[in-house]
């Protein structure tokens, strides 16, 4: 009480005036220093290309629209700087953006290829992250988690760990996957070889007229971005597409039927993971028809052929999550039964690879003789030229004319020629991404924008390994032979057709394609 009285006494008239004077000074200083008389806004930044007079067009601008529900791609607006690189690649390289009339109908036209993600300098556009799903599956003791790795990931994964472009890390990749706790580590090259047998047989059937209603040229069907492009822009050429599923989906269907049956595993407990260089593979795995294992087992519960797709970049994140030093790992081998792959399967990762692999086997099937040496180094279909072509004399059959196209912009003139009936080819390989899978939308961002130098390094690594293999022809893959002997019977058998082949969707009604001059 006394203290309070004492304090009250201190508030003298002098003190009060001093206090008010100080507050006034502080207020005046704050007003003068901090309170701008400028209008609101304009305190930020935009890239240089947008600082032009309003009547001048900006050459590189904006960004591509992304479907918020896309299974493949997402975008973080806080990272986007509107540099326009995504539009650049989508429009000029892939010929998707801007190739439809406005207004849009009810679809955000996207082939899910992820080239925008590969070109994005800030990684604002990236794959839909499913790393956590894999971690949960690995930690679930009731789940039998199998993984397949695509041909192209083994020549790129190392780049995420500081190794030079094209470094060969197949053995380390297998070792890392095993160390993380995957129950089986398999190779997509196995089904790449299988694809050659199915697709090759289909081609021969088309040439010989056994496959009625299926015209020539036959188009390859391994690249889901290319498939969606064809469904969108060239739906009338869908009959030209091979009915073969991509190696990823063949693998998914087989692991939950063939492998599950042979090893007595409940397919419902299998979690099928794939490591892909591609973001469109996520879309492909989510296509409603890709549940052939479920159909096979007559399961009421939905069994997806492939449950989770990780890109190479996601795999790198997963490996880093477990604190594994990839480069320091000892090399390990793939698990048997679905782990063997030939050099032919391996080169699927490069543009022209499917074609080269196919002709090696086609030659053997048609002539019953080993393929000549030239078919093991088929240079006309190698390299980064947009459209490559070759013709082969096959004794007893005639001339087989083939073409290889990569990058969807390069596909348009070839497809137009096919539409007009002017295409001389029997078989055309289409790959969505420039350079093929080695430069897929899910690969490491080793150079920005992606450079041919990096693509060439990765491709060279694949061809070098193919050359060093003893097994270089798909039809000589012992595990594939065993698969046919014990399960599928023969290529395009009834069961093979059920599990390894698919149908396509006409997406031409989703928009009005722009008339091109």
């Amino acid at each position: 009480m006394d203290k309070q009285k004492a304090r009250e006494k201190e508030v003298t008239r002098r003190n009060f005036l001093k206090m008010m004077g100080t507050l006034g000074l502080v207020g005046a200083t704050a007003t003068l220093a901090g309170c701008s008389k400028e209008p609101a806004g304009g305190g930020g930044w935009l890239p240089q290309q947008y600082q032009v007079a309003s009547s001048w067009p900006t050459q590189v601008r904006g960004r591509v629209p992304l479907d918020p529900f896309s299974p493949s791609l997402t975008r973080d607006d806080e990272k986007c700087i509107l540099c326009g690189q995504c539009v650049e690649v989508c429009q000029k390289v892939q010929s998707v953006f801007g190739y439809y009339q406005l207004p849009i109908k009810d679809n955000i036209v996207c082939v899910n290829c992820g080239q925008c993600a590969l070109w994005c300098p800030t990684a604002a556009i990236t794959e839909r992250d499913e790393v956590q799903k894999v971690i949960e599956a690995l930690e679930d003791p009731d789940k039998f988690v199998v993984v397949q790795t695509a041909p192209a990931t083994r020549v790129a994964l190392g780049e995420e760990f500081g190794l030079p472009a094209g470094s060969w890390v197949q053995g380390q990749q297998v070792a890392a996957l095993k160390q993380m706790g995957f129950d089986r580590v398999f190779d997509t090259n196995f089904t790449a070889d299988l694809t050659i047998l199915e697709e090759g047989t289909e081609l021969i059937n088309r040439i010989t007229g056994k496959e009625t209603g299926r015209p020539l040229p036959q188009f390859t069907s391994c690249s889901p971005g290319w498939i969606k492009f064809c469904e969108y822009y060239y739906p009338y050429l869908i009959p030209n597409l091979s009915t073969c599923k991509s190696p990823q989906q063949m693998f998914g269907a087989l692991v939950k039927t063939y492998y599950a049956k042979q090893n007595n595993i409940d397919p419902k407990n299998i979690v099928s993971v794939s490591i892909m260089p591609c973001t469109a593979k996520k879309f492909e795995a989510a296509r409603p028809e890709m549940n052939d294992a479920g159909q096979y087992w007559n399961s009421e519960e939905e069994i997806r052929d492939v449950d989770i797709v990780l890109t190479t970049r996601e795999l790198a994140r997963l490996i880093k999550h477990y604190g594994i030093d990839l480069a320091a790992l000892p090399e390990e081998e793939y698990d048997p039964m679905m782990g063997e792959g030939s050099g032919a399967g391996l080169i699927f990762g490069a543009t022209g690879g499917v074609m080269e692999a196919a002709v090696r086997t086609a030659y053997f099937v048609l002539t019953n003789q080993p393929a000549p040496e030239v078919l093991f180094n088929l240079t006309p279909v190698r390299g980064l030229e947009g459209v490559k072509e070759a013709s082969l004399e096959i004794p007893g059959t005639g001339t087989l004319r083939i073409a290889v196209v990569h990058g969807l912009g390069n596909a348009r003139p070839v497809l137009e020629a096919v539409r007009r009936g002017e295409s001389p080819y029997h078989f055309i390989e289409f790959m969505c991404c420039p350079g093929g899978c080695v430069s897929g939308g899910g690969q490491p961002r080793t150079s920005l924008p992606p450079s041919d130098e990096v693509r060439e390094a990765r491709i060279a690594s694949l061809y070098q390994k193919d050359a060093s293999y003893k097994l270089r022809e798909s039809h000589e893959n012992k595990e594939v032979i065993e698969l046919y002997e014990t399960f599928l019977d023969h290529p395009i058998s009834e069961l093979a057709y059920k599990l390894l082949h698919t149908k396509y969707t006409d997406r031409g009604d989703n928009f009005v394609a722009k008339k091109l001059s």
Binding site: G42, L46, Y50, S54, G62, V87, F97
Partner: protein, 268 residues
């Protein structure tokens, strides 16, 4: 008689909604240029997009029907920069000022935070910084600094499909009229030509505006005219009121004086 501050209608933007693909470049450019924060609760793109103190522009997604078919449309919202802005007329501290260029801009140092502007705006545009200790009102400034330099507003410049055209309002109106008349797909209405007495941002669309969340019941009479109807009597009311009160004061004072004098006489 309407109060027109400037002789020229100024600059504006014509938005052709049928060209929008929903990439959201415009709303991001707005955030980048104006240094605005991102807010998960109030998205600036998608089906739930709305204007907020951090979203000066927002691109809202609409799934509607056109000719019996489902279609996607995207609507970019922002301040429409009225020819005779209600916010300006409601603001007694002159924090909102329409400029000769057509932009209605906001001066934070003049704002007293009364929020009359928010009540006045027929398009529900100005937003308040509810989460700030010293909150301000916020809205699109039409990138005033940029248009003064001859550049287009940030959102216009970044659009990859040319949804927006920046220019003189008169020319934009002529362009809009020509576009909707030459193509059957368009609704024969230019939103903003007459709404609230005319706005400097104009819209054309191939889907009726009411289906895209536009207020179609907005008066065509400039909002300030309504308040002008009675506010024009303010000076005479003040003078009359002052006169009346002064008179009453003098009268009362005189009465008291007389009463006092009478009392004095009585006591004598």
């Amino acid at each position: 008689m309407a109060y027109n501050k400037f002789d020229t209608p100024g600059k504006g933007v014509l938005i052709d909604l049928s060209k929008c693909v929903g990439c959201g470049s415009c709303s991001l450019a707005c955030k980048m240029w104006n240094d605005l924060k991102f807010d998960d609760k109030f998205p600036d793109q998608g089906p739930d997009a709305k204007l907020s103190d951090k979203n000066w522009t927002a691109v809202r997604f609409h799934a509607v029907e056109k000719d019996g078919q489902p279609v996607f449309r995207f609507v970019k919202n922002q301040c429409l920069h009225c020819q005779q802005p209600a916010c300006e007329s409601a603001c007694f501290s002159r924090a909102f000022q329409r400029t000769e260029s057509g932009a209605t801009i906001y001066y934070p140092h003049l704002c007293v935070g009364c929020r009359y502007c928010m009540l006045a705006c027929p398009f529900n545009v100005p937003k308040f910084q509810w989460d700030q200790t010293f909150p301000l009102v916020t809205k699109c400034q039409m990138c005033f600094g940029r248009i003064e330099k001859g550049e287009a507003p940030a959102c216009v410049g970044v659009c990859p499909t040319n949804v927006m055209t920046f220019g003189d309002r008169d020319e934009l109106l002529a362009l809009a009229r020509k576009t909707i008349e030459s193509d059957d797909k368009y609704v024969k209405h230019i939103y903003g030509e007459h709404e609230a007495g005319g706005t400097n941002w104009l819209y054309i669309s191939d889907v009726p505006f009411e289906q895209l969340g536009f207020r179609t019941d907005v008066t065509t009479r400039p909002i300030p005219e309504y308040s002008h109807e009675f506010l024009k009597y303010t000076p005479p009311v003040i003078v009359a009121w002052g006169g009346l009160l002064s008179g009453m004061y003098i009268y009362t004072k005189r009465r008291n004086k007389i009463a006092k004098e009478e009392k004095k006489d009585m006591s004598v």
